[in-house]
Amino acid sequence: MRSRNGNRNLSFRLCSIIIFSSLTLTASEHLISYKYIVKDATLYNETLLISDAMTKCDGKPQKELILINNNSENLKQLIFANSEEFIEYVHKLGLHIEHKETTTNLQNHSTTTLTLKTTCFKVDFNDNFARIAPLK
């Protein structure tokens, strides 16, 4: 037979596990890819794709970005509200560059493509801010 003190300890442990798991459950994983094409020194196309991760991602969170959030848990809305800041952050993470230039009879045409390959990001939503960090 267990003592009353032992039961209290058990219930305290259970409560702490529930609270901790509820806190961690607010962290979600998202897949983000970004690409933009510049043709003849003029921006031609820009794409930012965001989706929820269907499977669990591997890796540890790297450089994080903190964005101001207004109680929303929608990453797309959050990123589109702070698109300039997020794109600057994406540039810092590193982009793949592919540049093709053709000069035919002294007439020049060029295409530059900058790409962030599909990367899994861990996003922690809080009341006033959200933490975004790539998993590597």
């Binding site: 020194a41 003029t42 590193g94 793949h96 560059i97 053709t102 000069t103 002294l106 530059t112």
Partner: protein, 196 residues
């Protein structure tokens, strides 16, 4: 009769002696003239020899100068190679290397506002700056093709290709003037970046 013969003999002998003397004086004059010509020739030869020696000295000087120039050029090349080797060593020793580029971008014709034009031109300029960094760090693949028909150039094509991954590049300065946006970008690279 005898006396007359003797006189004739004496006269002939004397005439012979006189002829010999004249011949002797002629030969001496000739030899003197020859000597003078030989002397003149000798002096000319000496002068020519002196000129030749002067020319040889000049040639020697010019060759020495050429050798000096060659040695200077060699020394410069060696210094350049040494500096290049030193630069390579800098990367090997995990010291950082600073690269700075300027990217240019143009706003599209159909923009809703000047702010949009600026934003789009800046994006294009950033892409150009990234391309410039990639060219400097990783290099460019160049391919050319010329078509000549009936001794006339028909078509000339040059294709360049760059592929790289750039991260941690920083924008230093952005200027926007008359539709052209210029972005100054810099990156600090070290050997460990390549090791990754």
């Amino acid at each position: 009769m005898r006396y007359s013969i003797l006189l004739a003999l004496l006269l002939s002998v004397s005439s012979l002696f006189g002829a010999d003397k004249a011949a002797n004086t002629n030969s001496i004059e000739q030899t003197n003239a020859e000597l003078a010509t030989v002397r003149a020739a000798a002096t000319q030869a000496r002068e020519e020899a002196a000129l030749a020696t002067i020319e040889a000295a000049k040639a020697k000087e010019s060759s020495r100068k050429a050798i000096d120039e060659l040695t200077q050029v060699k020394a410069q090349k060696e210094e350049e190679l040494a500096s290049m080797a030193a630069e390579e060593q800098l990367l090997k020793q995990n010291r950082s290397m600073h690269i700075s580029v300027i990217g240019q971008g143009v706003a599209p014709m159909n923009t809703a506002s000047p702010a949009q034009a600026y934003a789009l031109a800046k994006r294009a300029a950033i892409a150009d700056a990234y391309r410039a960094i990639a060219e400097k760090v990783k290099g460019v693949r160049v391919d050319g093709q010329d078509t000549v028909k009936n001794m006339m150039m028909q078509k000339s094509t040059i294709r360049t290709y760059v592929q790289a991954m750039v991260k941690n590049a920083n924008i230093v300065e952005t200027t926007f003037k008359e539709g052209l946006c210029e972005v100054e970008m810099e990156i600090v690279i070290s050997h460990s970046d390549f090791a990754q």
